[in-house]
Amino acid sequence: MTGFILRRLLQLVPTMLVISALSYFVIQLAPGDFLTRLKLNPRIDQETLLKQAKTLGLDKPAWQRYLIWLQGIVLRGDFGYSFEHHRKVWDLFIERLPATALITLPVFVFAWLISLPIGIYSATHQYSVGDNAFTFTTFLSLSIPDFFFALVLMFFLVEVFAVQSVGGLFSQQFIAAGWSWAKFWDYLQHLWPVVLVIGTGASAGLMRFMRGTMLDILNAHYVQTARAKGLNEHKVVYKHALRNAVNPMITIFGQSLSGLIQGALITAIVFNLPNVERLYFNALSIQDEYLTMTLLMFFATLLLVGNLLADIALAVVDPRIRYG
């Protein structure tokens, strides 16, 4: 088992290298660079621009910049410098992590807590009124673009419920304040629309998947056997079917955190959330390249590590899986 985990961890290194190189290539394809906006400013002369390019390292060719960036990470754990914020990329990233966690974890818990029971219910009561209602709701929530849902929700909050502060994670007076009950209450008031927008989309997918998996298993021969020998329905569903439905869900579980973080990208822009996703979008649009690259690598790491953890969990749970 240890060997399996070690080997998989080692495989991550070349994968990350390829991903980083390709990502850097893609980012370089975008027309212009960070200084393009300054070039359009008539008050900035050519000499300042050249000096600026030299300071930021933008006078070097792209492949050299990539290698320098990579070298910094490997040798000094330095993820580079943000052109826009004039600060270390790593500090900016760490600064945004708490807000990212405060948004993603509640959504994560919400999505799994509502989708699993409903998925099981829908499968055991296939084509009942409840199942049809849930199916329709999931289809609807999968069909609404997150940004539009967020806009409509904001409209209702402002127009119908006359909410004063929409967007962000805290009201103005609480942003710098330490934690207190008042701040927590304020947080919850800002959080629920975000959870609703990201969570419904995420749980709709999970629900469909859980329902499908359960249905497949409920039609299997061993479930038929269990019923035929007179086992009560409760035992059939929870001991025979549900335990076998766990495996595919573990795979999904591994991808789910990364999926939620990515899914929050567009919602974060509409709600103006102070999280990593928002930072990424800003960095991308102004071509703050080391910041963009580091955050892209963060997203990729989440995905790869999630998959790895899921594979390890599967190997532990399922005796049929060989990992030698």
Binding site: V26, I144, F148, F155, E159, Q262
Partner: protein, 374 residues
């Protein structure tokens, strides 16, 4: 051969007839299909159906709320619907511009009337539009049934034209991903060995990319100077670049299982040529999977395009797509939303289109499954 005699009275049905029979039972699927066809029709004849040219600006009529169509006037009821003239005034307190109806001037809505010129289906120049008020000299009124945006462009006309991009982006990009997926998946499954290993590594790497962030980074490449058509194909290309690995994997799996099955073996034993095996036996068996995967992939592309255009990374002005029409709300969100809620109408079309494609795809998936007894 006993089974054949059992159904002697009933004429044998082809696979297609069986699929259609199962499809018909899926009521939501039928509704979805009808909506898909209606929206496609709307996209094709958008110029004819809309009262104005989609880029026509009416500078003095910025943010007009949806206008009311009347049938009753002081003269009583008439079958000829009409609108009143718009009167603009400024609120003395807030300085906000507002519009009221000027009841002294009536403009009848006429059908098959001359309007802004356009090219019908790209074939010939005409100026006949389904409805409108006619051209200014004889009819100076305005007809903004769904209101206007900041530069006074008619939202109805822009929503209709927006259907073109939004509906086309799904089908075109899925066709391209299908092509790439079939090519790579097919090569992988048929040849195996080194080709298979290489393609599978490529697919794995493509799939370990964080999709949405990469997608945005790719969209940022499209140069600002590109024409709307170029941007459209750029977006389509990005979609298929991200979409093909999944399809290739599905197809490879299918071909690998099919290759080992008895009927292929039987065909081989009878000396059937490789080409005939591919086109007569392998492809028809994977076709249904492909069609279903494709129809379920379209809504994803529509959602993706709308999100991109909403963020300002997709289709650009003066062209329109449903996502781009909502781009006004990016940034100065809240006041804009409260003052101009009618600008959210295009969002409803995104939902309608995606929902319709989802229902159609779902019904199709159930219908093509030969083991599904309904």
């Amino acid at each position: 051969m006993g089974e054949h005699n059992a159904g002697a009275g009933i004429p044998a049905q082809t696979q297609l007839q069986l699929i259609w029979r199962r499809f018909k039972h899926h009521r939501l699927g039928i509704v979805g299909t009808v909506i898909v066809f209606a929206l496609t029709f709307m996209a094709l004849f958008a110029d004819f159906l809309s009262p104005y040219h989609y880029a026509q600006q009416h500078r003095q009529y910025s943010y007009v709320p949806p206008m009311q169509v009347h049938f009753f006037s002081e003269d009583g009821f008439s079958f000829q619907p009409f609108v009143y003239a718009l009167e603009r005034q400024r609120d003395a307190l807030t300085f906000k511009t507002g519009y009221t109806e000027d009841r002294s001037q009536k403009f009848p809505i006429r059908f098959f009337v001359a309007g802004d010129p356009y090219k019908f289906l790209g074939l010939f120049e005409t100026n006949i539009r389904l409805f409108g008020l006619g051209t200014p000299p004889e009819s100076p009124g305005q007809l903004f049934l769904w209101g206007t945006d900041q530069s006074g462009r008619d939202l109805l006309s822009r929503t209709l034209i927006g259907a073109r991009v939004s509906m086309a982006v799904g089908s075109v990009s899925i066709t391209l991903s299908l092509f790439l997926g079939m090519l790579f998946g097919g090569l992988s499954g048929l040849y195996g060995g080194i080709v298979d290993t290489l393609i599978q590594r490529l697919v794995e790497i493509m799939q370990s990319f964080p999709g949405l962030p990469l997608f945005l980074a790719l969209a940022a490449i499209l140069p600002k100077a590109w024409s709307p058509t170029m941007v459209f194909f750029g977006i389509v290309f990005i979609f298929s670049l991200i979409g093909w690995p999944g399809l290739a994997r599905i197809l490879r799996g299918q071909i690998l299982t099919l290759r080992e099955q008895e009927f292929i073996l039987a065909a081989r034993a009878m000396g059937t040529s490789n080409m005939r095996i591919i086109f007569r036996h392998l492809l028809p068996n994977t076709l249904t999977t492909l069609i279903v995967t494709a129809s379920l992939g379209i809504p994803g592309a529509i959602l993706g395009e709308s999100s991109l255009s909403f963020l300002g990374l997709g289709i650009r002005d003066p062209m329109a797509s449903w996502g781009l029409l909502l781009n006004d709300f990016l940034g100065s969100t809240i006041s804009n939303l409260s003052f101009h809620p009618w600008l959210m109408i295009p969002g409803l079309f995104i939902i309608l289109a995606v929902l319709a494609f989802n229902f159609m795809g779902d019904a199709l998936r159930d219908a093509v499954d030969p083991f599904n007894i309904n």
